[in-house]
């Protein structure tokens, strides 16, 4: 009986086990303590509970999610469009993709003062930071996937009298979509980093404000609670994206490289 229970719920049990391991070592590290600025897991959760009860965390996220959602949406729409375009035309690739390769490897924190000078300290700069983080990986993944569309599928489209539009929308984009989704997942997680980074480096608002403020008054449990909540949210969001992908492209997940 216990044996079958274990095999049936193996993924769930493993997940719980790994959570216990990580949070347990966090708790131990906090109790030692490794640093006076490192709270225990339970202290941090208690602080998160308090932040949730008095609503601070919700007002903070209302602020943080604004540049995040806007930036991720812009990056997705522009990124996928540009990526498809670059993937279809070699000339365009030569022109555009160096920009994204530079964007991807540039030290963003060093560019923020420049952004502030141009766009001020408002939401525009923050959206820019999210886009700079999220867009390159979306563009590069999309263009790579588009370029790798099976030659024979494209030939099939031509031979059955597909127009260029048919071939792009009905063959190239669906066949690239699993890799485009990988790019979106990576882009969204980079966007989360960008959103927090912008709140720490431009103006402290939202979750960035909780982090900065609680650090300045040495309320470390609250600071770690805020960081923890961000990670939690990112993981939840990525899971939702993954579910969406499975529902949208049922046939694709098993046969990406089928013949």
């Amino acid at each position: 009986m216990p044996y079958t229970f274990f095999t049936q719920h193996r993924p769930l049990i493993l997940k719980i086990l790994s959570a216990v391991l990580i949070f347990g070592s966090w708790e131990i590290a906090g109790r030692v303590p490794v640093s006076f600025a490192f709270p225990t897991f339970f202290d941090s959760m208690a602080a998160l509970w308090v932040l949730t009860l008095d609503g601070t965390i919700f007002t903070a996220y209302a602020e943080t999610l604004k540049p995040l959602v806007v930036g991720v949406l812009i990056s997705t729409v522009i990124g996928v469009t540009l990526g498809v375009w670059i993937g279809l035309s070699t000339k365009f690739e030569w022109l555009i993709s160096p920009i994204f390769i530079v964007m991807q490897s540039a030290p963003l924190a060093a560019l923020i003062p420049l952004l502030i000078m141009v766009y001020g300290i408002g939401i525009t700069s923050k959206v820019f930071v999210v886009c700079i983080m999220a867009m390159p990986v979306i563009v590069l993944n999309t263009s790579g996937a588009v370029r790798n569309t099976s030659e024979s599928l494209i030939e099939m489209g031509h031979s059955f009298l597909g127009t260029r539009r048919d071939i792009i929308l009905k063959i190239i984009v669906p066949s690239a979509s699993p890799i485009i989704f990988v790019g979106l997942r990576l882009g969204v997680s980079a966007g989360f980093i960008g959103a927090i980074l912008s709140e720490l480096k431009i103006t402290p608002t939202g979750v960035g404000d909780i982090i900065t403020y609680s650090r300045s008054i040495a309320d470390y449990p609250s600071m770690y609670a805020a960081i923890f909540s961000i990670i939690l949210l990112a993981v939840l969001f990525l899971n939702v994206l993954e579910r969406m992908e499975v529902v949208l492209f049922r046939g694709n997940n098993k046969s990406l490289v089928a013949e």
Partner: protein, 257 residues
């Protein structure tokens, strides 16, 4: 003039040239494909048989000469030709039904109509009940049946098959060859069939064009006649079948490294 009246060719290739850079792939190649028959293009690898097929399909342009389909010159893919691909070219994200109906979808046939047609051909090729499966759930042989159903469902005069059975196992391939003979007999279509298997070509063809490489030209046209109307099971024991296989091998062996 007299000659034209006697034989009705669905496809005629006249003095076609094709080169890739410095490499001459096809040189002054002419060949006729009689209507309602199956013609194989047979030759060693690199002899340009797939190139010729794709020129007829309108997928790649020739550098000279002309291809006529139903007496009209080819300048691209057309509704009179349908292609069966060596690697099946199925869309893995779609069901068998949509894959088969895809040719009609690209021709803007309304959904209910094209699905009714697709369902008929799915049943015809022996895949009834698999309409809602995805390609990765099918065996190689079944996938090629999907490719065949897609080509049949657009109801073109000419069926172009590029080594359609080379990626399926031997037993399935034999079954396919028998089915193909039935198809040639019953579907009033012209088949152009690329293969590198001598036995396969002799087994299924009304006419075999033997291509020799570098640059490609038609070296011989063979028309097996004696066993064409025999039972599919006894063809492989027919003396004429065996003689033709031997003769073709004698012509080709010097070109095989």
């Amino acid at each position: 003039m007299d000659n034209n009246l006697k034989t009705d060719n669905a496809v005629s290739v006249h003095n076609v040239y094709k080169n890739y850079g410095d490499v001459q792939a096809l040189e002054d190649l002419s060949l006729d494909f009689p209507r309602g028959e199956l013609t194989s293009l047979l030759g060693p690898s690199g002899c340009g048989k797939t190139t010729l097929l794709k020129i007829i399909a309108g997928l790649i342009p020739a550098n000279g000469g002309e291809v006529l389909v139903n007496n009209a010159p080819v300048d691209g893919p057309g509704p009179d030709r349908a292609f069966v691909f060596q690697d099946f070219a199925l869309m893995p994200w779609d069901t068998v039904l949509r894959n088969v109906a895809f040719g009609l979808e690209l021709r803007n046939v309304p959904k209910s109509e094209r699905e009714a047609i697709a369902e008929k051909y799915i049943t015809d090729v022996g895949l009834g009940g698999f309409e809602l499966k995805y390609p990765h759930q099918l065996s190689g042989g079944m996938r090629q049946r999907v490719g065949l159903a897609r080509a049949l469902s657009v109801d073109s005069d000419v069926l172009l098959m590029d080594e359609p059975f080379s990626a399926v196992d031997e037993q399935t391939r034999r079954k396919f060859q028998e089915d193909l003979l039935g198809l040639v007999k019953n579907e009033n279509k012209t088949f152009i069939f690329v293969t590198h298997s001598i036995e396969e070509a002799v087994y299924v063809s009304d006419q075999i064009a033997l291509l020799l490489p570098r640059p490609s030209r038609v070296s011989e046209i063979i028309r097996p006649t004696g066993f064409r109307h025999k039972d599919v099971g006894s063809i492989r024991r027919d003396p004429e079948y065996l003689d033709i296989v031997d003769n073709i091998w004698a012509s080709l062996r010097s070109y095989v490294e």
